[in-house]
């Protein structure tokens, strides 16, 4: 089934993408065998989103606005938070968990031996496809919020697309940077748990947090750029400067992540496999 291009003359990058695509497809095929998991996932998502909406209702039963954000605008933030969390749980988290296991058990050898870019390979071996339910639910919530806030023009939509792309790349990079730590410290589980806990803070716009915390949620965990900035684009409060900073920051983080990954991989000495 794997149609890896056979022609040797092709550029290696194109081949890498083809291999990645095959891996992704394979991961999806493996996962969709377990269809009952969809029901379980839907139940869990319903409970989580229901709770979040109840909290929102509770907050707005005591106040008319939260740090300058209206209820409908916070729906947009919540929706984007759920959506992005779904993307991470579908594509990023399962791969990073597997990478950590591979480093600990020495089975990363098998990925390293393949003639494609290892970072690309380790990032597309697993897809937890049922978590896409959260992406759909998040999109519906955010869409409802946008519809109630008012018209979004073409410029806003473009800015939103750019901001979301930056956010997705940033979150992926942060996960990879943290996971790469596994090359030095074998037990990284508690660190990812910490990271997961911090992600919950993104349900609210980072602008409401006190200064020291806002810096942490922008630089250490890129919640500000991943959730708040795209939400700003959809609620008409994003400035060109913020978007520029987000794009610049993303570029820097991508370069740093690539360098850090390279250092990590050089530390690796397959314990046994």
């Amino acid at each position: 089934m794997a149609r890896v291009p056979r022609r040797p003359g092709r550029r290696s990058r194109a081949r890498g993408i083809a291999v990645a695509w095959t891996y992704l497809r394979l991961a999806v095929l493996v996962e969709i065998q377990y269809r009952v998991n969809l029901v379980v996932q839907l139940l869990q998502s319903a409970v989580e989103v229901g709770t979040a909406l109840a909290v929102l209702a509770l907050v707005f039963s005591h106040t008319g606005e939260l740090g300058g954000w209206s209820r409908d605008e916070l729906l947009v933030v919540l929706g984007l938070h759920v959506l992005l969390g779904g993307l991470v749980a579908t594509f990023v988290q399962p791969n990073m968990t597997r990478l950590m296991t591979d480093v600990r058990e020495g089975t990363l050898d098998f990925a390293l031996l393949k003639p494609v870019d290892t970072q690309l390979l380790v990032s597309c071996r697993e897809v937890n496809v049922w978590q896409l339910a959260d992406v759909v639910i998040g999109a519906v919530i955010a869409g409802t919020g946008v519809a109630r806030v008012g018209a979004v023009d073409a410029v806003d939509a473009l800015a939103f697309t750019a901001a979301v792309c930056c956010g997705v790349v940033l979150v992926y990079c942060t996960w990879l940077v943290v996971t790469t730590g596994a090359f030095w410290m074998v037990r990284m589980d508690s660190v990812t748990e910490l990271f997961d806990g911090l992600y919950q803070a993104g349900r609210w716009p980072v602008t409401i947090y006190p200064g020291w915390l806002r810096v942490g949620l922008t630089v250490l965990v890129p919640l500000a750029f991943a959730v708040t900035v795209p939400a700003q684009a959809l609620t008409g409060r994003l400035t060109g400067v913020t978007l520029g900073v987000a794009a610049g920051f993303t570029a820097v983080v991508v370069v740093v992540t690539r360098w850090w990954w390279g250092r990590g991989i050089r530390r690796y000495d397959g314990a046994s496999a």
Partner: protein, 285 residues
């Protein structure tokens, strides 16, 4: 482990079906747990720090609301909110008991076989083990609580009686939660698809216990519902016994309600256990 050699069945009581649980049993298991958990200081600490995010988020949100409402929300000032959520972090740690998900592993791996051979009811082991764990947890919480106090400026005035009630109430909360988590865990004997039930329970707990927000900020009907559940006794009551301003009568009544829920929980545990254990059949060791 030394915990195993505690009350070897004495020959005289051969007719008795169960060995009496001695304080020595509790002491030995708890001590082993303290020593074990001090070895995993770093892992325990990461875990505790990760847990701080949740109350900080709630605190910031409600402080923002209070400021927007001219200094207080439902009569609670930002300083009082800070006090509430800082004590929250300690009570949350006291609330950690054997997760019901652990039962799946216990049953799947046949580990219950060994536990059933012991002459005491297995719940005693769990109570003692997690109670011992609380000692390093409380010690490690002190700097976290101190740091949070520096950052968020809590304000509260505490009477000596409140401290005493609080010191009892956190252990009452611990016992209540142990009992009900055990009952939930026992459901695993009947079905393996339990996660939906667990998640529903945890959600109800989040909303009705005072974990999300002080119960006085909840709508009236939610508070009336909560009154008929064990949730406020295991979360909101211990916190408010220290940071709230309750009369002596209310404090003592709160402790009595806790005692009632412990008794109810223990009753349900012993009843469920009797039926659950009959369904157990071990595969493997």
């Amino acid at each position: 482990m030394t915990a195993l050699d505690v009350p070897a069945v004495p020959a005289v009581s051969a007719r008795r079906r169960r060995v009496r649980v001695t304080p020595a049993f509790y002491y030995t298991v708890a001590k082993a747990s303290v020593v074990t958990q001090f070895q995993y200081r770093a892992a325990n600490y990461f875990y505790m720090v990760g847990m701080v995010t949740e109350p900080v988020v709630y605190l910031v949100v409600w402080t923002t609301v209070a400021r927007a409402q001219g200094g207080s929300v439902g009569g609670i000032t930002p300083g009082e909110l800070a006090a509430y959520y800082i004590v929250w972090t300690l009570v949350r740690n006291m609330n950690i008991v054997l997760t019901p998900y652990a039962w799946e592993e216990r049953i799947r791996e046949g580990r219950m076989s060994g536990e059933l051979l012991r002459p005491v009811h297995p719940i005693h082991y769990d109570i003692a083990f997690f109670a011992g764990w609380k000692v390093p947890v409380i010690l490690m919480w002190l700097p976290i609580g101190g740091l949070l106090a520096l950052l968020f400026h809590p304000s509260t005035d505490v009477r000596p009686l409140e401290v005493a009630v609080f010191a009892v109430a956190i252990w009452g909360a611990y016992l209540i939660r142990t009992m009900f988590m055990w009952v939930l865990g026992l459901l695993t004997f009947w079905t393996t698809r339990v996660s939906a039930i667990f998640e529903a329970w945890f959600t109800a707990e989040l909303l009705l216990s005072g974990r999300l927000v002080p119960m006085s900020l909840m709508p009236d009907w939610v508070r009336s519902v909560a009154m008929f559940t064990p949730f406020p006794s295991s979360f909101g009551f211990p916190i408010e016994s220290l940071v709230g301003s309750r009369s002596t009568g209310e404090l003592l009544r709160g402790l009595a309600v806790q005692g009632l829920w412990i008794a109810v929980g223990a009753g349900v545990v012993s009843l469920t256990w009797r039926f659950a254990v009959r369904r157990y059949s071990a595969v493997g060791n």
